[in-house]
Amino acid sequence: MTDKNSKRKKIILHFTLLFYLLIFAFCITKPIKTKAAEIYLKSSQLEYSPNDIFKVEIRLNVSAGEKVTAIEGKIKYNPSDLKVIDFLTGNSILTFVDQPQNNEKNGLITFSGIIPGGYTGQLLGDPGESNLLGTVVFQVLKTNNSLTNIQIESDSRIFINDGQELKTNLIFKSLALNIISQELVFNPLNELESLKETDKIPPEEFKPEIVRINGQYFLVFNTQDKQSGIDHYEVNILKENLLGQLIPLQKFTQSNNLYHLKESDLNNIIEVKAVDKAGNERIATLYPQIQIKWYKNYWFWGIIIMLLSIFTLIFKYFRKDRFLH
């Protein structure tokens, strides 16, 4: 009987212990929030032939609650297998700080940019992927290699929140592609050309602004193109002539997002043309920021000269008339 009792007590004790342990685990266990970010590469196929032109998308994934604000990416490829044809910024979530650069000799593509407000990861129900950083267009070269690797260099950097570099839990996924020996003769509708072919939409609307930096005036602008991406910008300065017609003071000049202005340009109309990779254009116009001073206005002097001429003529006429009498 006592044996049975002690057994029962032991069971109760064990259950009580287990219960307390469960409570303990429940109370102190906080959900572990792992800070992680991943940059990965994606292509439509895993096998290409020499001469093939194809796209490789650079994409970003972040763990829930993370806010990626800046990225410095380095993409390494074998220059004896692949040649970079272009870097497309269409649909990119980045505002580029360093425009993409390709070092053909070393097979290295570098770029950096920010995500204003931060990228916090894909939302449930988003019909698309919304995590594209950029797209590299490669051409396969004639090579003896049957496999080529495109990889994200380990010294690529991801910044979260207000400038904190994410140093752990960084995942950089490379892309291995098979190169088949059969050479492609001609493919007029490769991935780049078909993208350009379908892009009929001009870049997004934008508004240039003038900013004074270090005592100099600059025109600043930025826009996006959701299809092929922005190819370049051109700036044109226009002046109104006496007849009200706009006369270009210079031809459209190719520019980056920061265009140095002369002080006199502030009185003129400035046009900025954004051109995408497919050649579609969007022009944004900025009207004079400074009110033209009265003595700099042609019309004012024109009217003065006209009035003076009329007065002179009248005066001369009456003088002549008086002498005759």
Binding site: A70, G125, D126, N214, V220, K226
Partner: protein
């Protein structure tokens, strides 16, 4: 013997509770749910939250089920039932089960473009600003119930980063709520459940130890506010927003150690938690210094109360260039003597558009 073991265990548990108090509060608070932004697409043939139907998908509904005697039920472009083909009945009963959310009207869009509707909660009569790819595209005034709705039409199909923030009655801005979204041509995307974080401010930049510092802001009306003080040990204070959403928390600085501190807040309403507010800093020291108004905000390089493309361009000008003393003081955000990606990352964090 057993009893003493039990006592020991109970004491041990109590000790753990006390030792880990802050974390325990945190765990309890996590019982509520972080507000979730929901995306539904009207035009994809799938009936999602807030939709009565989608295209030809009527979800099994018929005219008779809706209280009519006969006829053909169809679906409007706004994903609401079109009962114009139903005969001889009344639209009674509220059978649609649509809940509180009424999709905004569909505005015809251009070919290759889509429409996006944003609905959520801010503060009563506050200005809500919407950014598309870091540029301001729309502003609206929230209703007296703090609800707001913004519709963007003719958005070119593609992926975008949308951001929303609100400004309270004192001109303080909330943190930026950012979310990526793919816009599909010919469909209407509804983004619902946006819960804007509270605004936050302090009345002093430095407070003498033992004095009270006021932490205040605006949030959704009648919400429960948790003020989080980040110091060596996190402190959680509770207060409640009034009917206009204003809240005030008096922090007794006896509770915290000397030095620099950060305060953040979040609102909880109907078991949903808003994202965390911006952080405001203050110091507990030997004197009291009131907060000056009109100072340039972090990353606002041209002092126009906005962090946008102009500030980005100013930083881009100095990028990889030797800095003048003035540039060092204003543009170098992390004070490391150079402009690099870290400074741009800080700017991206404080972006307002």
């Amino acid at each position: 013997m057993h009893q003493s073991l039990h006592k020991c265990l109970i004491l041990f548990i109590i000790f753990l509770f006390l030792f880990n108090g802050g974390n325990f509060v945190f765990a309890a608070e996590n019982a509520t749910i972080q507000a979730i932004i929901r995306i539904t697409v009207c035009g994809n043939g799938i009936i999602e939250t807030g939709e009565q139907c989608d295209g030809t998908n009527l979800g099994g509904a018929t005219c008779t089920k809706l209280g009519f005697s006969s006829g053909t039920l169809s679906c409007k472009a706004s994903c609401e039932f079109d009962t114009s083909g139903c005969i001889n009945g009344t639209t009674g009963g509220g059978g649609g089960g649509g809940g509180g959310y009424v999709p905004p009207p569909i505005i015809p869009t251009l070919h290759g473009t889509g429409q996006v509707n944003f609905t959520g909660r801010a503060y009563p009569n506050s200005t809500v600003t919407l950014l598309k790819d870091a540029q301001i595209v729309a502003t609206t005034i929230a209703g007296s119930d703090a609800n707001f709705q913004i519709s963007l039409t003719n958005i070119t199909a593609g992926s975008y980063i949308f951001s929303v923030y609100s400004e309270d009655n004192k001109g303080n801005r909330s943190s930026l709520l950012t979310f990526p979204l793919s816009v599909t041509s010919g469909v209407v995307t509804n983004v619902t459940g946006i819960f804007i974080s509270p605004t936050i401010d302090v009345d002093k930049v430095e407070v003498k130890k033992g004095e009270v510092i006021k932490i205040f802001g605006q949030a959704i009306p009648n919400s429960d506010i948790t003020v989080i003080i980040n110091s060596d040990k996190e402190i959680y204070g509770k207060t409640k927003a009034d009917k206009i959403g204003a809240y005030l928390y008096n922090l007794d600085t006896l509770e915290i150690e000397m030095g620099d501190h950060l305060a953040k807040s979040r609102a909880t309403l109907e078991e949903e938690i808003s994202p965390l507010s911006k952080a405001v800093s203050f110091k507990v020291g030997t004197k009291t210094v009131l907060k000056e108004t009109g100072k340039c905000g972090k990353a606002d390089l041209n002092c126009d109360k906005r962090v946008n493309l102009i500030d980005f361009s100013i930083a881009a000008f100095w990028y990889k260039r030797p800095l003048t003393p003035e540039a060092k003081a204003t543009v170098d955000l992390n004070k490391d003597g150079k402009i690099d990606l870290i400074d741009f990352s800080i700017m991206a964090y404080y972006w307002t558009g």
